[in-house]
Symmetry: C2
Amino acid sequence: MVSIRDVAKEAGVAISTVSKVLNNYPNVRGETKERVNRAIEQLGFVPNSIASALSSKRSGRVALVLDVNRNAQAVDEIPMQYMIGAINRAKELGMDIITVFAAMLSDMSAEEMTRYFQSQSVEALIVCSLSRTEDEALCKMVKSGNFKTVLINAPGVDENTSSIHIDNQKAQYEVAKTFLTESTAFCTSKRILYIAGKKEGYVSGERLKGMQKLAQEMELSLLVRVGNFSELEARKLTMQYAPHKDAIICASDLMAIGAMKALIDMDIYRPVCGFDGTNLMGYAGKQMHTVGQDFKRTAACAVEEAGRLIGGEAGREIIMPHKLMRIKYLDVIS
Amino acid sequence: MVSIRDVAKEAGVAISTVSKVLNNYPNVRGETKERVNRAIEQLGFVPNSIASALSSKRSGRVALVLDVNRNAQAVDEIPMQYMIGAINRAKELGMDIITVFAAMLSDMSAEEMTRYFQSQSVEALIVCSLSRTEDEALCKMVKSGNFKTVLINAPGVDENTSSIHIDNQKAQYEVAKTFLTESTAFCTSKRILYIAGKKEGYVSGERLKGMQKLAQEMELSLLVRVGNFSELEARKLTMQYAPHKDAIICASDLMAIGAMKALIDMDIYRPVCGFDGTNLMGYAGKQMHTVGQDFKRTAACAVEEAGRLIGGEAGREIIMPHKLMRIKYLDVIS
DNA sequence: CTGTTAGCGCGTTCAG
DNA sequence: CTGAACGCGCTAACAG
């Protein structure tokens, strides 16, 4: 293994000089830098990230905390998108990502988690869809401020915590409005079944607000039920209520699929509206409206933001864009 | 941050003694060990894995190389399962996993990859579905023996390379046989469309062999076409050939879904058989036969195997079990 | 602008 | 069975 020492010898300079070149320090003469870089090139030297981390006490390591398979019986498309987006961006930025599943953390106290992440030299966390009620310990650890944190789809900005999400309220409002306007069923009446996410979730609450706002504006008769982002629960709720409703609007694609399945089973037709824009929607078999989110891009932003926080900047809120979509089979129509 | 030094002081012993306790060395008196462990407990000490890796030159770090979104338009369920299985097992074993997407490696030469992994202190690789033709550089690096490697779904055992897979030939043979026997269509005739995976893939080849063996035994008329594990290609092939066939057998679930979609579009019925046992099959809308694989377990085994290789043992071949399934909607029937 | 000197936190000798 | 001493590859003061 070729080390910084070899490079120094090859270039005929001191080790520290090489280090400076490596880390883009200002005080190195152009010619010397040239020489060092040539040596690096020739020897094919790549700095050992572990040694670098140990010495500088900056590992550039962030833990991506994902919630897999808790709410979704089906497919973990969204976590996968987050991962891809985060890992790719991290590589570009020379950062290091470790993936952690929330399930592995669920039996730890806040202190144990802290120690675990410290032992892994983690400097920042990216937490996807933190639930205030379900992940108490994790929540507590984030609040403790021991780690810089980027929350995806959860609120809570402070000095070392940023929050990234779309404008859920607006998105739900817009997609439902477009959906209802374009759905022929709307001509006849206005009885809507809204299948919300979780009872006390932040995202769920925002989406519900958007829906309620629209209901008021359009004078809809709105029945709200909680589906816990579960396909199965949405299916049951649809079975129970859909026959007396004109349209079904769900707070997630997965629930929309559940609703659609129920309708097919009952052999009745009602337009269905989802939320997320997952590929899975292409498998529902009918056209559906939904909100498109770019999860990869969100995760990439989260990584950048983690870097910013590690760099000492203060937490902030970042709103990602969303778009309205109509999906049928595997094809995105708009 | 509480370090090994603090523990030593607290326990009133030397640092090296604590280290020995930590690493389960033999030569420590029981009572001393007790005392050290108590101190560790009290201080909530967790060893710094980075420092440990740097010093011992054993990072216990393995890179999980996944192929995402290359063959699948749809959903990356299988890579996700691999990840979950690998990460969970790695945590249990105190190993460290970094996830790498093959796409990020595709523009590197074998030497660049080697240096990249070395810079990350990676000791072993777990490569999922390596393709001899598509990943030349990766393939070369594996053969170079610079890293211990576990190949999932690819052949190539040697001193520092193990291979893990199911018996693809047998599995394809069995599932097709059961499928044909149970499908009513079989009563009338024997014209089969087999949509294979890749033209030169190891796994694809094995499955094809299984199918051909069965075709001979059952005197089937077998038309083989290559679908490249693509839903879309399978859809097109089905459109083209299915009208004159009695049943369709695919080398993957995703292709089976594509086939099923085509049949629905054409409004004709033909029984379809898949391979993999993904949850996505539950969204196909019809009952299908398939081969069930436990991807999580496979990945967990791969991690253990990587540990074994790092420990200096020789590479070997591991055959994982498979099972035959019938899937309908979200429910596994058998 | 460059070289020298300490460590980072731990594992590994090897003499006690 | 113990503990001092050394080094992993690199960064970070400080001298020069």
